[in-house]
């Protein structure tokens, strides 16, 4: 069991760490939370066996939410762009702007799929919905992204604007 857990750690730590790093401005905080995820995972391993990768992401999501609640720098943490995007990259900047204009559930499913490369099963666990709902939400999110991408810049600065699509999942 210990060897299986180490295998899980080696395989999934980079993904979990990256998931957290994309959502936190502070890389050391992301590393702290990643370590905490695997500390909790080891406790679970001793009690119930080695958890799945999807379980790791759900735990990371929960720790991230707690971290945000506790943080005195909430506004900074909730900034859409953590670190690492070159300021002179027009396309990346525009993509981030469009992402920010989307509904939070659409934005998150796009990030989970195209940044974190979670499988449908893993994304469903993190989003607390069925796998079918993930695909529907992804489809609608892609449509909303596409619509927002075509809008004039002046129309895109308002988060959650109605122009980005209202379809729920």
């Amino acid at each position: 069991m210990t060897a299986r857990f180490v295998g899980l750690f080696e395989a999934e730590y980079p993904r979990v760490h990256a998931y957290l790093a994309r959502r936190l401005p502070d890389r050391s905080a992301a590393e702290d939370l990643a370590s905490e995820v695997f500390g909790i995972a080891w406790q679970r391993t001793m009690a119930d066996g080695v958890p799945s990768p999807a379980w790791l992401f759900v735990t990371a999501r929960n720790l991230l939410a707690n971290h945000r609640r506790k943080s005195a720098r909430r506004e900074e943490i909730e900034a859409a762009v953590p670190t690492g995007v070159p300021a002179d990259d027009d396309t990346a900047d525009r993509v981030l702007l469009v992402l920010e204009s989307l509904r939070p559930d659409h934005r998150e499913v796009l990030r989970l799929r195209y940044w974190d490369e979670l499988s449908g099963h893993e994304a469903a666990q993190v989003l607390d919905c069925s796998e079918g709902a993930v695909w529907v939400r992804l489809h609608r999110a892609r449509r909303a992204f596409s619509a927002a991408w075509d809008l004039p810049v002046s129309s895109r600065h308002h988060p959650h604007s109605t122009a980005t699509g209202r379809g729920g999942t």
Binding site: T2, A3, R4, F5, V6, G7, L8, F9, E10, A11, E12, Y13, P14, R15, H17, A18, A21, R22, E31, A34, S35, F38, G39, W42, Q43, M46, V50, S52, P53, A54, V81, P82, G84, V85, D89, T91, A92, D93, V95, L96, L99, L110, R111, R113, Y114, W115, E117, S119, G120, H121, E122, E131, W135, V136, L138, H139, R142, F145, S146, W149
Partner: protein
Amino acid sequence: MRRIRGLIASADPLRDTAPLAPSGRARAELAHHLSEGATMSELRERKGGLAVWVTAAGAVAAAAVIAAVLLNGADPAPPSADEPYYATSEALEGAADTIVRGSVVSSEPGELEGLTVSLAGVEVKEFVGSEPGPTIVVAHTPAGSGPETVALDPGHEYVLLLDSMPDGRYSLVNTTQGAVPVVDGRLAEDSLLSVAARDALGVG
């Protein structure tokens, strides 16, 4: 269809960053957890007598060895491709919506979210998981087009671990573990596919 995946991926804050491998601190913390866990196990088992204590002591020793490996970073690292890698049968099979054994009957160039891909027509013989149609289309990056590619050659048989897409086509869960050639009814390459899945697919 607009290249939405490519566009969004281009804004990934970590796109130019190497995979975030465990740091020395992360390895040290994990080694500490493992050692602690083994010690607790030893204390619990000692109540049961000498024989189980010996077993528990073995677990402590094993954890110590693994801790040393972790600290030294001499790990069985997965391939360093920029795509998921699954370390266990459970994780690998859990990532797939369906696992099929089938023959590639056609291959043609196509487009997926603005990217040039190969579209392989696959005649399904057996499957595990969600039921696919008798013939499915698998979109994949063709061999020779980059580091994360796979060859699905017409006339050859494979076990394919597949992720379903909203448009009804499929993609491989990854390029290193998602396609395994079948030769003479046997998997021709190493795979983490479980015995149960192999049996169900008739390649056990």
